[in-house]
Amino acid sequence: MSVILGRLCEGFIINCQIFGLTLVFSIPLGLLVCFGSMSRFKPLSWLVKTFVWIIRGTPLMLQLLVIFLGPGLLGWGTPWPAGNSGRLMAAVVAFVINYACYFSEIFRGGIESVPRGQYEAGQVLGMTKPQIFFKVTLLQLVKRIVPPMGNEIITLVKDTSLARIISNKEIIMTANEYAAKGLIWPLFSTAIFFLVFVGVLTLLFGWFERKLDYFR
């Protein structure tokens, strides 16, 4: 049993890696996508919005396959290194693109929800654009995006197990191998890993929301 739990832990480390790397890269990329979709240069905003629509409108599982297999099938040669590291890399790239698009919409909603008057009040007080952004609107924006970001990030925790579709040996895949041999309990016990992880995140986001509760 301890051997099995050890294997499950190894699998869950893959989930955590995908989770961490996706967060680190998709948040800045999401900001870029957000600025692109809000750009006053119409062709750019149109292009970015179409891209976001495609990514949000198709299953992540399909995107994983396209990213991993697509280049090879198109005869470009696969960009992914052989073996496990290549599979992990492909999974992270697919997750980053997918989540950047979701985050960009949250960021856009946040930016648009800060009243125009806040920006104008800063201008009239002689502040520069960066000063207005960092000193006036940023914190209001953060306060507004924390709850939807929390939701999205919790979804990401569970989505990481989709990486098994391109043979990443994450926790569900590992447990499934036991199930195929007739041993069912490892599969059900994976729930505990996810529940604990999500529980910690929930506490963290709750704490952060309370931190920002001092203003409206």
Binding site: Q118, V124, G126, Q131, V136, L139, K143, Y214
Partner: protein, 255 residues
């Protein structure tokens, strides 16, 4: 010499002409009231003075120096506009206080940022000046309150202190009491009245006719984007010469 000289300002949004041929001047230490019905262009005029909108035509001079001229692109560089804005202060109808800062921080923030940029004043001096301004607004005991913990009247007084902190040459008010419950307008009007007594140069857009008559040295009545009548408040409000002014004022005395 007039501290503010506005000449032939015009502004349109798309095809609608919102301001046409607006000219007036204001002497230092005087208060100007602008009255007029909804949609007559009062807010747009104040926004032009504060460079939140750019007039399509005309010029604005402060203390004899032209700070904006629609026909002279050299007066319109993005960089200078920030400096030029500081000639004016603007108090918004709906306050627009920064919610994440206390009353005192709202008042000191911009001045601290400017001081950091230019050197000079230290932080303690700015905070001290901020406290004095709040005290002057009758809010000495509210310095550490956040905007959502203050009543509308208190919020608007914080906003006035915030605008005064940068010591603008001309302080503009856009219907400063319109968003307030009737019982809270008095405290804000009292503060503006005391600023007038201290000879603060002000432009006040207001629907409070009695207040405009008492406090202002000059009144402008606007309708459809033009100045219909201007002059001494007792003349314009009590003995209007123009038919349009009479109709507007009659509507006011009815309600």
């Amino acid at each position: 010499m007039a501290i503010l000289e506005v000449r032939n300002i015009e502004k349109h949004f798309g095809n609608t002409q919102v301001l046409s041929d607006i000219s007036f001047s204001l002497e230092e230490g005087q208060a100007l009231s602008i009255i007029g019905s909804s949609g007559s262009g009062k807010t747009t005029l104040l926004r032009c003075l504060n460079f939140l909108e750019r007039p399509d035509h005309g010029s604005i001079a402060v203390k004899g120096g032209v700070i904006f001229d629609a026909s002279d692109p050299s007066t319109q560089s993005e960089k200078d506009i920030r400096q030029k804005r500081l000639h004016f202060g603007l108090v918004f109808q709906n306050f627009n206080l920064f919610p994440q800062y206390t009353a005192l921080q709202n008042v000191t923030l911009a001045r601290e940022l400017l001081a950091r940029e230019r050197g000079g004043e230290n932080r303690d001096a700015i905070v001290k000046a901020g406290r004095e301004l709040l005290a002057q607004m009758g809010l000495a005991d509210r310095a550490y309150h956040y905007p959502h913990q203050l009543s509308g009247g208190q919020q608007q007084r914080v906003a006035i202190a915030r605008a005064l902190a940068l010591q603008p040459d001309i302080l503009c008010f856009d219907e400063p009491t319109s968003a307030l419950d009737p019982e809270l307008t008095g405290e804000v009007l009292r503060v503006i009245r005391s600023l007038a007594e201290q000879k603060t140069t002000m432009i006040i857009v207001t629907h409070e006719m009695a207040f405009a008559r008492d406090v202002a040295d000059q009144v402008i009545f606007m309708d459809g984007g033009v100045i219909v009548e201007q002059g001494d408040p007792r003349e314009v409000i009590d003995h209007p010469r123009e038919e349009r002014t009479r109709q507007f004022l009659a509507r006011y005395t009815e309600n």
